[in-house]
Every structure is written in C-alpha cells, then in structure tokens.
C-alpha cells in the first residue's frame, strides 16, 4: 500500500511529433482510487504504463511509496496490472494463471495455494480453477485477470480499460463488483478508461485528460458540476453539457444574460463581465422545460426562451429532447411522458445557479468570486 507521485512526466513516441504526455504531474494518495479518463490519444494509457514500468519516460519521475522507481523495471516496482485484453496465459490453467505472480516470487507452495484459493473465492472462480482460459467466457477471463492482479498484494493496482471488452450488461455488473472489491482491499488504484460514466462511478477522484495533459482533476461531482474548461464539461455527462453564447448586460446594478432575443437572469458574480460575450454551459437535466407558454406580465417568472423541438428520444427514465434555440442546438432532459413532438415549440428556462460560464476565446471557466 503506497502513494503514487508522478512529476513532470514527458513522453514522445518516436513516430509522432507531439508529446504523448506533456509534463504531467499527479499524486494518488495511499488507498485512493483515481481514474484517468479522456478521449483516445489523450495520453492516459501512456501515463499508466509509465507508472507500471512498461514505458520509460523521456523526463520526469515516478515515486511509489516514497521510492524513486523511474529507472526500475516493472517487476521491481511492486505493482499489479489488469490489461484491457486480459493478457492471461492460454497455456496455463486458471490456477497457474492466478498464482503466476506468486510463483515468480517463489512464494511457499502452501501459502500460494491458500492465497490463490482466497482470490478465486473473491471473484467466484472456485469452480473454474482447473480449466484452461479457452474454456472460459469473456467475463470469466476478466475475473482471472483481476484475481491474478489482486493475489500478489501489490502496493499499487493499475487497470487499463479492463471493462472495455465486455458487453454492456456485464460491464455494468462488473463495474459494481470491482468497486466493491477494491474498496474491500483498500489498495491504491490507478484506473484508465475512455468511458466517462465508468470514470464518474468508480473514482474517488477523476482526472480528465486531453492532448497529454490533465485538464482537471477532482471528485466526480466537482468535475461534473464545476468544469474548469469547456472540454471537461463537454466530455463528462451523457448527454454532454450544452454550450451557447450570450451577452452580459447590466440592468441597474444586476447583471443579465442576453440569449438571442430573450433575457435570462444571471448570477451576481457576472457583474464583472458586463458588456462582454460569454459562453454559457448548462446540463440537460438543469434546464426547465414546459410545453405551455409561460405566463407573462408582472410577477411572472422571467427568463423563458422559446425553442423548437427537433428530435424526441424517450429513454424510459426521461425524455431527451433536442431543441433549437435561435441557431443553437441544445439537449434538454424532460420528465418521462413529456408531451412533445418534432416541430412543437417548448419553453426553456434555467436557474442562474445552474449555469456555468466560460471565456469564448480560451474556453476556460470564468473566475467567479
């Protein structure tokens, strides 16, 4: 059990011009479960492999448990890994597969068998110990890979998209089991995935990566609710965050948002950005939607905008509407059974505290004090 400290890791692959990891630094506390998530090519797998010892960085250091392991080969780092393709050995039985790490470290025979048995029980593999991998299903092979990784009691557990090769239902089931298992073991874990839902559900902290850098790292709710940049807001969440431009105007002392032809109430901190354009970010579930025209006149709720429905997708738990507000396309989550059809007009509103604001040029979140 150890913490992982990564400092300024840079890696460029020979064939390409840009950096796979661009001066990345990361600290994983002892016992913490950190998920690296991002689109393909963002450097998350490269980062994981450098922590594992399967790739050497061009510069930077990796410390595990206070020990500088940057120059050490994988087998000396006391890490464990689960691969995307499982990488279990087809010519060995499940028992030998699970016990491989222990056998390589010359663990005493009785102790080895005891630990293999315990790991098999944790992953419901007791009945399959004497089979060969070819006789197992994909999900079972995945369990063998995980059993092999946990049986060695490593300091750090590394996982490279272990659920990607499973079908959707198995993936959900195993995700829950994995979370429970890792919690039970308490091992420091670094997990890579491209699936943002998986990242949010598993991690104590989520690190969103892009182009070799960590865009934002924080608890799942923090990165979901308060993205530091447009990319993070657009990457997390299904459907992704909506973005549209607006103008900040002052009416008296209060700031207001001009969205197309309508005016929305704005949070007080936007006062500093009067007469500027901003990029508004709002999540589909944070937009109120109604099919009836809202009341107008004194005392009525301000800030409604009309939009035209383009696509209606009933997902069972909700109805996902794709609407057009002026020339912007927005995704809106409506309650199940919401009566809307394409080409209907609906009215949208969002509470000011649900809105997020970004600089249209830099895409970074506006500083709010």
């Amino acid at each position: 059990m150890a913490e992982v400290v990564v400092r300024n890791l840079v890696k460029t692959y020979a064939a390409s011009a840009h950096r796979a990891t661009d001066d990345v630094s990361l600290e994983v506390a002892d016992g913490e479960f950190v998920v690296l998530v991002g689109p393909s090519g963002c450097g998350k797998t490269t980062l994981l492999r450098m922590v594992a010892g399967l790739e050497t960085p061009d510069s930077g250091t990796v410390h595990i448990g206070g020990r500088d392991v940057t120059g050490l080969p994988a087998r000396q780092r006391r890490v464990s890994m689960v691969f995307q393709s499982y990488a279990i050995f087809p010519h060995m039985r499940v028992r030998q597969n699970i016990g491989f790490g222990l056998a390589m470290r010359k663990v005493d025979r009785q102790e080895l068998e005891r630990r293999v048995q315990r790991a098999a029980e944790l992953l419901q593999l007791e009945d399959y110990l004497d089979r060969f991998p070819a006789q197992l299903s994909g999900g079972q092979r995945q369990r063998v890979a995980v059993a092999r990784a946990i049986v060695v009691d490593a300091d750090v557990l590394l996982m490279d998209e272990p659920l990607s090769n499973l079908d959707a239902l198995l993936r959900l089931q195993f995700r829950t089991e994995l979370k429970k298992l890792v919690r039970q073991l308490g091992t420091t874990t670094l997990y890579v995935t491209h699936d943002q839902a998986e990242a949010m559900s598993l991690g104590d902290r989520v690190a969103v990566m892009r182009d070799g850098r960590i865009a934002q790292i924080g608890t799942p709710l923090a990165v979901y609710d308060r993205p530091d940049e447009q990319f993070v807001g657009g990457f997390l969440g299904a459907p992704p965050m909506n973005f549209f431009p607006a103008q900040v105007r002052l009416r008296g002392a209060d700031p207001q948002l001009v969205v197309g032809e309508d005016t929305w109430p704005a949070p007080a901190h936007l006062k500093a950005y009067a007469d500027r354009s901003v990029l508004v970010g709002v999540r589909a579930e944070n937009i109120q939607v109604t099919a009836d025209p809202p009341a107008t006149g004194p005392g009525a709720q301000p800030g409604w905008s009309a939009a035209v429905v383009e696509v209606v997708e009933p997902t069972g738990a909700a109805v996902l509407l794709t609407v057009r507000l002026d020339e912007h396309q927005l995704k809106v989550q409506a309650p199940p059974g919401f009566p809307a059809r394409p080409d209907d007009t609906v009215w949208l509103r969002s509470a000011p505290e649900m809105l997020r604001f970004f600089d249209p040029e830099t895409s970074l979140a506006l500083v709010t004090t």
């Binding site: 594992a52 010892g53 399967l54 080969p73 994988a74 087998r75 890490v79 464990s80 890994m81 691969f83 393709s85 990488a87 279990i88 050995f89 087809p90 010519h91 060995m92 491989f100 790490g101 390589m104 470290r105 089979r131 060969f132 991998p133 070819a134 006789q135 092999r148 060695v152």
Partner: protein, 270 residues
Amino acid sequence: MRRPWARAAAVQAACVAITLFMAVPMYLIALAALSSRESLNRFPLPLLPTDLSTETMSAFLRSTGVVPAFLNSLQVGLGTLVLSLLVGVPAGWALARYAFRGKEPYQLFLLLTRALPIVVLSVPLAKVFLTSGLYDTTYAVTLLHTALALPTTVLITAAVFVGVPRDQEEAAMIFGATPVQAFLRVVVPQALPGVAAAAMFAFVLSWNEVLGATILTLNQRTLPAQVLSTLSDSPLAYRFAGGLALVLPALLFIALMRRYMLNMWGATLR
C-alpha cells in the same frame, strides 16, 4: 437445391481423393520394394501383396554406400534443423516484435532467395566450398540446406510469434518475470507447435533435397544423391527400394512431430 448432406458427402469425397493421391503411390512403392524381384516382372502387376520378400530391400541396404548415405542424410537433416532454428527463431522474433527500417524489403528479400534455381547456385557454391576446403563434407550440405530452409523458418516463426500477444509478455514482466523468463514461460510454450512445424519443414526439405547435395558431394553423399547416382542404372526393384528408403524416415519424422503440433491446451485439434 444442394442439401447439407450432399455438401458433406462432397467434402468427404474430396478428402478421400486427396488421401488416395498421396497414399496410393506410397503403397505401390512399399509393395514393390517388399516383393521379390520376379514378381515385378509379371504383367499385369499384382496390386495386393502376394509375394512378399525382403530380398530387394536387404540387397539394396547392403549395396555400397547406402547405409553411410542414410547416416549422412540424417546428419545433414538434423544439422539443418538445429542451425535453421538457431538462426531463424531469433530472426522471426525480431520480425514479430520490432519495427525497423527496411522490414518490408527484408521480408520480400527472404522470399526471393528461394526464387533462384538451386542448380545455378550450386556450381559457384561448389567453388566456394572447394577453396575453403569444405567440399565433399556434410557440413557443406548442411550449410546449403540451412540457407534454403531459413527463409521459411524465419517467416513461419515470425508468424508464430505475432500470434502470441505482446501484452502477455508484459503481464509476465509485471508479475515478476525478467524478459528472458517471460519469453521462456509465456512465449515458448505457445510458440512450440509453430516452431515444431518450421523444424519439420526444415528437416523434410533437407532430406529431400537432391540437386545441391549431388553437386556438393562426391563420397559423402546424402541418400537422395546416392540413390540418384547409383540407381539410375539399377534394375527396377532397387529403384523402388530406394524410393521406400527415402520416404519412410520423412514419414516417421512427421509422425513424431505431429504430437507437438496437435497438443494444444484446452482446445483439441484432431
């Protein structure tokens, strides 16, 4: 409308036809070699063993140079096998695991070396071996056969190693194996059937090779070379005996190696 059984029957018929195509000549050779000389002069030739005798075979085996030639062939065959594996397996490994400049031209080049007719190659080779003093030794023939077998050995083993995913080696190294241990414990067991196939190919190629061996040797002949030179004037019976002596060891070798190719874990290949 083709019914499923019609298709299955056609497949069976094709299998039987191919088997017969291979088996009938071998049967006839064996029959002729194990019959007495007189029975071969009868017309029409009996297709069933009626007059079995070991007379022809024993005379053939006792005739000059056959047993030494047989031993030479064995020595050259095994030498070729060992040498081509020693050189070919690491080369196949490099092709499978590393990307290097000139990889594609290299593979093409390997195949092109087999495009040269062996007769054309043998004469300058004989000159080289004469000057280096290796002429008329089994070493010369071994070297030639290794050169002939290497391209296929390299390409087969490369394909075999590609079939072992790299992340299995990485997994082995994460869990405590040095690169060498990872190779020996994870790659080799999976590569063994394919490498056995390459070894078998090298041996059989060497065993059957006659032109190069004939040109490069005089007294230290391999069996095919010996058979070619001495039996062209012999009676018919001895030619069959020679044929049987040539076919049998190769068949035996294949039968032995088959075990390695069919013995896969958990998945039985019949």
